[in-house]
Symmetry: C2
Subunit: 568 residues, 2 copies
Amino acid sequence: MKQSRAFIPTLRENPTDVETTSHQLLLRAGFLRRHTSGVYSYLPFGLKVLRKIEAIIREEMDAIDAVEMVTPILQESELSQERMEIDGDGSDLFHLQDERNRTYILGALHTELMTSLIKEEVKSYKQLPLTLYQIITKFQDEPRPRFGLLVNREFVKSEAYSFHISDESLHETYEQMKEAYSNIFTKLNLDCYIVDSDASMPDNLGVHQFIAKANNGDEEIAYSSTGSFATSVEQAIVSNHYEKSDEILHEVEKVKTPNKRSIQEVADFLDVSIEKCMKTLIYKADDEIVVVICRGDHKINEIKLKNAIAAQSVELAEEEAVKTLLSCEPGSIGPVQLPVGVKIVADFAVAAIVNGVAGANEDDYHLLNVNPEKDFAVNQYADLRYAEEGDIAPDGIGTIKFTKGFEVGRLDALGTTYSKPMNATFIDEAGTEKSMIMGRYGMNVSRIMAVIAEQYNDEFGLKWPKNLSPYDIHLVPINLNDAIQKELADNLYKLLQTYRFEVLYDDRPERAGVKFADADLIGLPIRITIGKKAKDGILEVKFRETGEITEWQVEEVTEKLQAYFTLN
Amino acid sequence: MKQSRAFIPTLRENPTDVETTSHQLLLRAGFLRRHTSGVYSYLPFGLKVLRKIEAIIREEMDAIDAVEMVTPILQESELSQERMEIDGDGSDLFHLQDERNRTYILGALHTELMTSLIKEEVKSYKQLPLTLYQIITKFQDEPRPRFGLLVNREFVKSEAYSFHISDESLHETYEQMKEAYSNIFTKLNLDCYIVDSDASMPDNLGVHQFIAKANNGDEEIAYSSTGSFATSVEQAIVSNHYEKSDEILHEVEKVKTPNKRSIQEVADFLDVSIEKCMKTLIYKADDEIVVVICRGDHKINEIKLKNAIAAQSVELAEEEAVKTLLSCEPGSIGPVQLPVGVKIVADFAVAAIVNGVAGANEDDYHLLNVNPEKDFAVNQYADLRYAEEGDIAPDGIGTIKFTKGFEVGRLDALGTTYSKPMNATFIDEAGTEKSMIMGRYGMNVSRIMAVIAEQYNDEFGLKWPKNLSPYDIHLVPINLNDAIQKELADNLYKLLQTYRFEVLYDDRPERAGVKFADADLIGLPIRITIGKKAKDGILEVKFRETGEITEWQVEEVTEKLQAYFTLN
């Protein structure tokens, strides 16, 4: 492609109000243009990348016998009533009416539509399992579109739906899909974590998220340095093993701690490490009062607490309730000599505290040398705290690390979440009518493109991975008025195309500096410069990935390029 | 693809309320499903055909250096204000609001959006010409969606926009585009006419429509049997050559024709052919009265009349005005002895009438032996009548035929129609600011799919052209419980795929009759049946196009298939 006709409108300056690297670079390199909040055009090079991503998705979907189709964007609102019952109030959807006042939504999730289609066409177990997928434009009335393609309102999504006669069959396809998704993200060169997530819908049999690393990501995940797990920070389990010192246990001693409210103030005042302090909180779990203890430097994770004590709900007890139990300020509460019958649960870390500090249940007093089991009984030890970076991973080998990212893929073992309310049934081998078992699998293709741009760039511009780059080679003659340079450039342009390379030929009447800056910004893997040494048959080759610059003889160029592009 | 997993839900019966062949067959063969009025899903085989059409379009667009991009579906309403001024009131668009009450339309035409994009990015003549194209989903709030994909509300369109510094540059691209469109329709095997149409917008430099033949088409066109032209019936020019008899001219004779109103009644009563009768009409052209004469069997085409006499408007004179001129009923008006100074124009056919019949300008009387020039003077002869089937074509060789069809493509040499009001300018070589010259080129891909189905079918189902068929070969084993048949089918399935054929393997536990009916309905070019002769290595091969059935040896199958599929 001649660059003069390719419509790659690069920008010298960063557009105003654009904070994210990928967004800046995709605009500056002429891959995208914004039309209105959260709505973009894919300019020719943006579309090229999008299509390459889609091709990789299709390849993996076809390999597991998922069949591609396309559902419409305009959907009757009645259909989405059921969705609203399940997923929300519909305020995140675009609503419209036609001239005859019939109401529609713009397709966001297509689960009802697919379920109602399959319900009409599939009646017997003989027609199942069935996996359908589509790559289509979707819409969401996102209240705060931001970061370009990362959080927007019109986007390309790939999604698959599978229909089954049994949980086992769903499980089989779900695992194939997880494998296919992993393959896709590997081929997309995306640094990405598979997170085993909580299903928010009751009949759902499991959820996995694929989270791609990004500094500005809206998902925070915890993962093990050994790669053994990744999960949301909320769900990260902490090892229950803590080193316990072999210090001799001392007797409890009450000390005055005037006006010391926070644990840190108490620790500083008493000159002990915060790890030796016990944080004691009074919770209301369903209707029962529970005393919860963790280490001074830890934070109680209420989801873990709820699960550990099998409560429907947990919340910090109101001040009044605390006052009825103990006549002191919250900062002075401690586990020693609590009223008889009060349930005490403690985080595993508390068991390892020796000669610790705790509140004295009396304003402005704390106790020194408090030892669990000796000075107070614990009804239950459990993993109750938020994981922190540096914690031992549950496998006991790695340490826990945190990172931010964006969800790029999601697997939902829906089970009968949709088929039951929508009455999507089939007749099984015994002649019995049963609800179909369903799976749903989605990835945001537009967002993936942005995340790749987010992960592959430097201060000069984009650095596309070879298999996703809009073109392979940027051919940059310095001076097209020089007959030798022009002839070599023209010949090389034709030659490289016969070798099936995609070549962008910078035929613009621009200065070398402008051409080089644009080449770095656009970020094709190889730049071939034709300059003064053209007369000696020498080309300058720049590898965008490493920045390395070298010289090649014209005769060796095709062979060396083939070697470079077949290498992984 | 195994048919059991391919999701091709065929229907035995015609769906109710579906009148068009293509619509019936695309539904019955499981290519499409309707969701709401004018809104369809493309099921896997429908999508396959759509993608093949799109690939052909891309190939031809890329060949003329048109560059693909994608604009959004959601568009701000403000942008479309300018469109509405130019094209209509916007009632054919879908309108919507977001949660913050900003108003949008769903993309129908994208001319403003493209113009405003290019206006921002292109400033200099050096950046032109530029041709961009896209293949995207569009929306129109069609009041009467019908015929499936032929007239609907959500459809796939391919469209290109070109931007130029001069009319000459536009003309060059326009001609390339016309050639590319012709190539596309040829590759699509579409029986299609190129119609040179009237531009409805003032600055437009030319319009061509591509009309594909279809019995239920909404466009009526006239074309020459020699292929020398095609045009709308309104615009069809008729040869000005009529045979004139060498009969001796007689003197005018007045005869009584009591109560004979129509030309046919008069001709029957006088026992002369209607071709010898003259039809005389009084028109008001702007503010002048004009007498217009044509042959009794012809009909005046008012557009031709208007153009011939260079009037702004023409309409039949009111009865009052006729009465002031002549004191008789309209049926008895004739050209002889009209008041002095009245302008008389006649169709070319009138000049060839010898001893004709005309009204006597007196109720219930007609004149015999009326001869133009001898008995009345004609101010102007012109082509004033509607063409009729069988007329001589303007080239004097072919005859004119009529047909109906649908517009599948349209070329618009927009000129400055949009760029001028939208102030889309560039700086030319001399430093002067000028309006860009624009072209727009579109085709309705969804409709094309339906038209192909309309043109390629028989009473049993669809008959896909080889290069558009969703798959190449339908492999139909009669009995998969027969080990020999199954082994042969499995082996052949694998073998044919290694030869890069797309094979649909009917592995369903259905009777042979059902499988054959489905195969005919779906319409792949080749059906290979594996039956009892499998043990002798003999296959039955059916060519869908001709219905021919033959037997092949297993050993010769790949060679014969390669020969068949490489033939045009």
